[in-house]
Symmetry: C2
Subunit: 135 residues, 2 copies
């Protein structure tokens, strides 16, 4: 299979496949005489694995670890669980932070008349609330 076909089949763009190869996330593809990369069904499988990992928000470094565990048939599931748990902790932290921001912003928006007058609590906040961490 050519790179375009695996791209379609895996949901990973050809650009990204080359990039993953370059950065060592995936091994160098076999080449035809023409120089074209040549892929097999198992490559598609691996790329789908990567794709799913990205969809779940894992950074590439973690996906690299997960790929290693995936290949290692004698792995311990505890190791996988550890990586996933660390990731979900980061997710929850990011969610909390965004929620706090959204909530502050929501309050400001509700206080803003949103008409043709210049008075605006949102601008007032930006102007005056720089230091106090009161998000």
């Amino acid at each position: 299979m050519n790179i375009g076909e695996v791209a379609k089949a895996s949901g990973v763009s050809a650009k990204m496949i080359r990039y993953y190869e370059q950065t060592g996330l995936i091994p160098p593809a076999n080449r035809r005489e023409s120089g074209y990369r040549n892929y097999s069904a198992s490559d598609v499988h691996m790329l789908r694995f990567i794709r799913r990992g990205r969809d779940l928000g894992f950074p590439v470094a973690q996906i690299n670890e997960l790929l290693g565990l995936w290949r290692d048939k004698s792995r311990q599931s505890a190791e996988v669980k550890r990586i996933a748990t660390a990731h979900i902790t980061e997710l929850r932290e990011k969610i909390d932070s965004l929620e706090q921001i959204a909530s502050t912003l929501q309050t400001l928006i509700e206080c803003c008349s949103g008409d043709d007058r210049p008075d605006c609590p949102i601008l007032d906040d930006l102007e005056n609330t720089a230091d106090r961490q009161q998000l």
Copy 2:
């Protein structure tokens, strides 16, 4: 005031102040004969405004708009509200997406025994759930 002082006073690093100047978010600073940038209290005020905007997750492009409205004493608050509302919509979308990811991951983690055996529902998911959008 030197750049280090305004950095401390505004909470924006000297690096970022120079960057904001370079990208046109803030006007070029006055210079002393030595070439040092020279700032006033109103510059600190503006940088605090920017800082607060960043803390609220506004991208620099939006902060640019907000700065314009801030300076425009005849602005309409509706315009500010529009920008803030658009931003909060994006925030909520991102939060939703992260929450869906976290929830999927949580389920997988709960199904994983996390012991020394190799069987792992997390890896199974990565292996098999690439296409169906069932996050």
